[in-house]
């Protein structure tokens, strides 16, 4: 058979100049049609109005290391508020000479999280690392042993408190949410209605009201001697709240699993718990990684609501900086700084979830 490929197929034809290179890209992406051309010009105009002043305010007219007095003279940002109050923002009211302890605890937590990122490390040993790590973090924060001065939990504040509330919130809420999701799909009427009532009730009230209840109403019902720690009560409220949302997401994942998977698991004789643990949940939880990380991220940010029950988390310690007359005018700067801290943690979570999704993708070729 004769080949249909042209004889001079070795010759490479280049696309017309207007279709490639920078000019081609601009034409294709920014000015393809009247409407898009007008939009492009409008956006450029707005950007021209906003970005240069912002850069001037942030970098050129700003001061970085002065007293609060000096800030009143200048037009730019007063970043001095951050270094001058860093200790208060990060550690809150933890005794100044003991602040290495929460610092070390945070480093341990972040270190353990980074170590756990690698799926090759997901072995039994990791569990012991975590138990040991959590135990020593608790020791460091609370003290009272090994010559560490005891620090009551009322003084725990700032970034360690935010990390603690959100980390334990997520870690405890996730399994609880999974159990609730399974319960809501149970064939047993009692269990199912219990889970439905729980989930719908919690989702029907704002987190703030749960926090109020846990901090103000709950102690009224308990005898005086049985007074749980305030942080612990807030922590419980956050866990119970987040779990209800996780439960609904996980339920969606369970419903997405083909009925054939349940039947295949049953037909080889696996019992309910085995088939859930080995077959259904690994697949369902993988599907719901994106929405569950969404919930975990919003749970992380929602911990800032503990402000209203007078816990001093990262946001509240920053606010307390502004109560100092010397720094009263620096609210924009300090809030931008706090926003950056929140952003870094949220971004790490979402980028890790994306990586995990890619790693767990089933191989098809």
């Amino acid at each position: 058979m004769k080949s249909t490929v042209p004889a001079e197929s070795g010759e490479v034809l280049k696309p017309p100049l207007t279709e490639s290179g920078i000019l081609g890209w601009i034409k294709h992406n920014l000015f393809n049609g009247y409407f898009n051309s007008i939009l492009t010009i409008l956006i450029l105009l707005v950007a021209w109005q906003l970005i240069p002043p912002f850069i001037r305010w942030t970098f050129i007219d700003s001061v970085w290391n002065t007293t609060g007095e000096a800030c009143r003279e200048i037009k730019g940002a007063c970043w001095s508020i951050v270094p001058a109050n860093l200790r208060l923002v990060i550690f809150g009211f933890y005794p100044a000479d003991q602040q290495w302890r929460p610092l070390l605890a945070m480093i341990m937590l972040v270190g353990l999280l980074l170590y756990s990122k690698n799926r090759k490390h997901w072995k039994k040993r990791l569990l012991y690392f975590w138990l040991l790590g959590l135990f020593s973090m608790g020791m460091l924060m609370g003290g009272g042993y090994f010559g560490l001065v005891p620090v009551e939990s009322a003084k725990w504040s700032g970034l360690p408190l935010t990390l603690m509330l959100s980390f334990f919130g997520m870690v405890a809420a996730y399994p609880l949410g999974v159990v609730l999701a399974l319960g809501r799909r149970s064939k047993l009427m009692g269990i199912r209605s219990l889970c439905v009532v729980y989930i719908e009730m919690i989702r029907g009230v704002p987190l703030i009201s749960l926090l109020f209840m846990s901090s103000i109403m709950f102690p009224l019902f308990l005898p005086k001697e049985l007074n749980f720690d305030k942080i612990l009560r807030a922590q419980a409220a956050i866990i119970l709240f987040t779990a209800a949302y996780i439960a609904e997401v996980v339920r969606g994942g369970l419903q997405a699993i083909d009925k054939g998977q349940y039947e295949a698991a049953e037909s080889i004789g696996l019992n309910y718990f085995q088939s859930m643990r080995l077959i259904i949940l690994p697949q369902a939880l993988k599907i719901v990684i994106p929405p569950s990380v969404g919930i975990l991220i919003s749970a992380f940010k929602d911990t800032s609501l503990v402000v209203i029950i007078a816990l001093y988390d990262l946001l509240n310690t920053s606010k307390s900086v502004l109560a100092n007359p010397e720094w009263m005018g620096g609210s924009t700067e300090i809030y931008i700084f706090v926003a950056l801290i929140y952003f870094v943690f949220c971004y790490l979570m979402s980028s890790y979830s994306r990586r995990l999704e890619v790693e767990l993708e089933y191989k098809t070729d």
Binding site: D258, G260, Q261, E263, A264, A265, E266, S267, I268, G269, L270, N271, Q274, L278, I279, P282, Q283, K286, Y362, K363, T364, D365
Partner: protein, 256 residues
């Protein structure tokens, strides 16, 4: 020890392994299975055919209680199927099932798919389970795929893995629910060949299938179902060449 069920049921011939007697099933008000009576002997191979919606899949799914029957008796290997979970699990471990859509576990390798049942249900040590799994992969002619994932192999290979997965539990009985109807034509033969080899090994098999060649080659009996009833049961050649019932004749004229 004599259990109540054994006392009540009439003396069974020694070699009957599945007994279905006056079994009925409803979906809501819809009467799917009507008065099903079928005894299967040990080592017997039965092909079940019939138009779609005739209840043939539902019937074999009742045998390992993926579906529940509401009336009558199903006894597998001397164990009566009731709501007792213990009994259901016992029966399921003895009855292998192969599905139309394979239903392999996509997040596990082929080898892990095979060893899951033996390790978790039979409590076989992992190493022995893996050796046995490799043995069964050789029986279905794909030992070289052991470390791959289900998504990486063809439909015919997946179905053979599904057969091997059931065999790993060393079942007494194998149920096949339209094992070749989701396959491309060129893959049907490789699966049927494995099933024929299995039949030659003496396995008790109930196969829902329209593969008439297969029925003629291996079946002892062909069961024809329509509208939830067993219409006709006969030896394969008599069944195809000389169908007794009008509905059977109509059905055969449509598919042959």
């Amino acid at each position: 020890m004599i259990t109540d069920t054994q006392k009540e049921s009439p003396a069974l011939p020694e070699d009957v392994i599945i007994r279905i007697a006056s079994m009925h099933k409803w979906y809501g008000d819809f009467h799917v299975l009507k008065d099903i009576n079928l005894d299967v002997k040990k080592g017997e191979r039965i092909v079940i055919c019939g138009p779609s919606g005739s209840g043939k899949s539902t019937m074999i799914r009742c045998i390992n209680r993926l579906e529940e029957h509401q009336k009558g008796i199903i006894e597998v290997n001397g164990i009566e199927l009731t709501n007792d979970l213990k009994n259901i699990e016992k029966v399921r471990a003895e009855v292998g099932m192969v599905f139309q859509h394979f239903n392999l576990f996509p997040h596990l390798t082929i080898l892990e798919n095979l060893t899951l049942g033996p390790i978790w249900v039979r409590k076989t040590p992992k190493k022995i389970a893996e050796e046995e799994a490799m043995h069964y992969l050789e029986i279905v002619h794909i030992p070289e795929q052991a470390q791959k994932y289900p998504g990486q192999i063809s439909g015919g290979q997946q179905q053979r893995v599904a057969i091997a997965r059931s065999l790993c539990m060393k079942p007494e009985i194998m149920l096949f629910d339209e094992p070749t109807s989701a396959l491309d034509p060129e893959m049907i033969k490789e699966v049927l060949d494995v099933m024929i080899e299995l039949a030659e090994g003496g396995m008790t098999m109930l196969v829902v299938s329209h593969e008439m060649g297969f029925a003629k080659t291996v079946a002892h009996r062909v069961v024809f179902m329509d509208f939830g009833e067993i219409v006709e049961t006969n030896e394969p050649f008599a069944f195809f060449d000389n169908p007794q019932h009008e509905r059977t004749q109509l059905f055969l004229s449509q598919i042959l």
